[in-house]
Subunit: 123 residues, 2 copies
C-alpha cells in the first residue's frame, strides 16, 4: 500500500513550528496549497492580482484590514480576500491560520519587501 | 462600502441546515467552492477523474474508505483524496465536514445514482 492514508492533523502540524509569518505547506489540492502560519503583530499591505486567498482562523483572532473596512476572524471562521484587493493582517495575540491559494502565490503579493518568504513544506 | 466584510462562521452555517448528504456552498475561492455537509451512514463508492477533493472534519468522525486502505478523520483533521481514486465515506455518528473542490464537481463523481445532488448556496 503506497498511498498515504495519514490525515493532516492541524494541531499536530502547528506544534511542529514556532516561527511567525512563515507559511508551512501541509497539503496539496490540484494546483493549490493548503498552508499553516502563525502570526503576531502587523503584516505589510499587499494584494494578489491573480488570485483570491482563503484564510481560516484556527486559534487566536485575526483582523484583516481592507481599504474600505475590516474583517475580524475568530476560530472556526473563514474569509476569502478577493483578487486585487489590498489587505493587511493584524493580530494582537499569536494567531494560527490556515491559508488556501494557488501554489507559488507570494505571501507579500505585489508589495515585496523584507517579509517576503516562500512557503516551506512541513512533513 | 459594498464589499462584504462578514466572515463565514462555520458553526453558524452548520446550524442553518439539517439535511444529510447535501452540500452547501458557503464561499468561493477563484473557481473553487468551499462547501459544508452533514453525513451519517455510508455514501456511494465513486471517484472524481478530473480533480482532487479536500475534506476536513469539523465535528464527528469520518472514515474514508479507499480500495487499498482507509483514512479516519477526527475534528481538526483533513485529507486530500487524489483525483481518480475511488472512495466511499462512512460515518457512525452524524459528522460535519468542510469540502473544497472545483465548482461544479458532482458529489457522486463517476458513480451517479440516487444520491447525486448539486451543491446549494447557503446565504
Amino acid at each position: 500500500m503506497s498511498r498515504s492514508t495519514v490525515p493532516v492533523n492541524l494541531a499536530d502540524k502547528l506544534a511542529q513550528f514556532s516561527e511567525l509569518w512563515s507559511q508551512k505547506n501541509v497539503a496539496v489540492l490540484n494546483d493549490y496549497e493548503v498552508k499553516l502560519a502563525k502570526l503576531k503583530g502587523e503584516f505589510v499591505w499587499h494584494a494578489h492580482e491573480d488570485t483570491d486567498e482563503l484564510i481560516m482562523v484556527i486559534s487566536g483572532r485575526l483582523t484583516i484590514r481592507l481599504r474600505d473596512g475590516s474583517v475580524v476572524l475568530e476560530p472556526g471562521e473563514l474569509f476569502v480576500i478577493p483578487r486585487g484587493v489590498e489587505h493587511c493582517t493584524v493580530t494582537d495575540e499569536e494567531t494560527a491560520i490556515l491559508l488556501l491559494e494557488p501554489a507559488g502565490t507570494i505571501n507579500t503579493g505585489d508589495a515585496g519587501g523584507a517579509m517576503t518568504k516562500a512557503a516551506e513544506i512541513l512533513n
